[in-house]
Symmetry: C2
Subunit: 254 residues, 2 copies
């Protein structure tokens, strides 16, 4: 098709993939949890054997959207092509269209974020496009020189995750199906800073009453786990309940 308007030189889809890793913190202790972002190191040459732009730099996975797909579909495709990972829950969060953001021309990026369970990233592997893939802690990632405006995209994605973690049951996607309260607490604390979560007594009193989690039972009795403690701890799972909050209803943090 021909049209009378100047057209963009490209439409790309980028994905900021986050996960929370668990490091053992000694026997019978809840593991240390840390928020990480998965970045790829851009290959020296591209698919066609041409030198790759921003080669060698760390970047968000992503690439050009094809005319027969949406940016969302491209995100799924590129994530798999570049990192071998699939089946993740992808969410759009912004568009980056500053005229100077990519020196190849007028290129618009549709940005997404992903919350991944640590285990779902196990199958990641380097590819033609990505000579290296690593999980970086946020501090590490902030110290890197990222390709294009990926630093800004990552900053914004982080902000969205914090917001979603506080307002939705996002934590679910960072946890196994059945989990113990201290695991939930650990996940929340990687992103949120709130005494009602970090204070054990407050968190353990309130958490069991949250309407979006429920205690797991087996054969009529409550199912417990000793994975992280000597004392058996109750296992919980998320329900389908979608919590709603409002600044006009609830007590606010000052």
């Amino acid at each position: 098709m021909k049209n009378q308007f100047t057209t963009p030189d490209g439409y790309t889809s980028d994905i900021a993939v986050f996960t929370i890793t668990s490091e053992s913190n000694g026997e019978y202790k809840p593991p240390l949890k840390k928020l990480k972002i998965m970045l790829i190191k851009r290959s020296e040459i591209d698919h066609e054997g041409n030198p790759n732009i921003e080669a060698g730099k760390w970047a968000l996975p992503g690439g050009f959207v094809r005319p027969n797909e949406t940016a969302f579909q491209a995100a799924e495709r590129k994530l798999f092509e570049e990192t071998g990972v699939d089946g993740l829950r992808i969410k759009h969060f912004g568009v980056y269209d500053s005229p100077s953001r990519d020196n190849r021309g007028w290129i618009i990026s549709n940005a997404h974020y992903v919350i991944a369970n640590e285990s779902s990233l196990k199958k990641r592997k380097t590819t033609l496009d990505a000579q290296d893939i690593q999980l970086f802690s946020i501090e590490e990632a902030l110290a890197l020189e990222l390709a294009f405006d990926h630093r800004a995209i990552m900053d914004d994605a982080l902000w969205f995750i914090k917001k979603d973690m506080a307002l939705t049951t996002l934590a679910k996607h960072f946890l196994p199906e059945e989990f113990v309260l201290s695991e939930l607490q650990g996940v929340l604390l990687t992103v949120l800073d709130d005494p009602s979560i970090s204070t054990d007594a407050a968190f353990f009193r309130k958490a069991p009453t949250l309407p979006f989690i429920e205690a797991v039972s087996e054969n009529g009795k409550l199912k417990k786990s000793n994975a992280y403690s000597k004392t058996p701890a109750q296992l919980y799972r998320f329900t389908d309940f979608q919590p709603i909050v409002s600044v006009y209803r609830n007590k606010l943090k000052c």
Copy 2:
């Protein structure tokens, strides 16, 4: 610039402009408030005198983004060009890029919403692009056949407004600088459905304690207004406080 990828046929910026109108409800009564959306009727011919696509249909204001601007800037520009309105607070909320959404080709729309004070829309006027401009109630707008996928965009925008109204001090942008509690209540009720807002006694007990509004004083004494009632009502204004809520802290609506 030349590149090896298929490129989009256009990049557009669309804007869903919402306002809340006040209709007098009789003397000494708080006015009836209603959420409205501003739509334009697409002209038969475009700037260049060519027949316009989707001519005669009602649509969101918007148009093609130029290569030297961002979609955000285009939103400001087109809103002014098409409706004569400027100075509004514009927010991105989504991208519409389904390959079949526009039969001119592969056209990506960056969607925005605007919350406008009724008075700021006073200066709206028809233009070359818009043979008519009107404020529609949501029910009216839902009954129209809108151009392109603007119906879906409008639906999504509405959803974002409801969310923002509950989670942020968005209501501020629908109100005058100084307002009375019943006005705030009226604004909230156009979008939110919550007994703690619709029940007068509950709302009037809670509202004065909200940390993001403050009573207005003049010459050391509280400033009151009789605009909507015989009894003088306290005037309030929004502060800069940004409230934070969390599903892990607050009581949840079941």
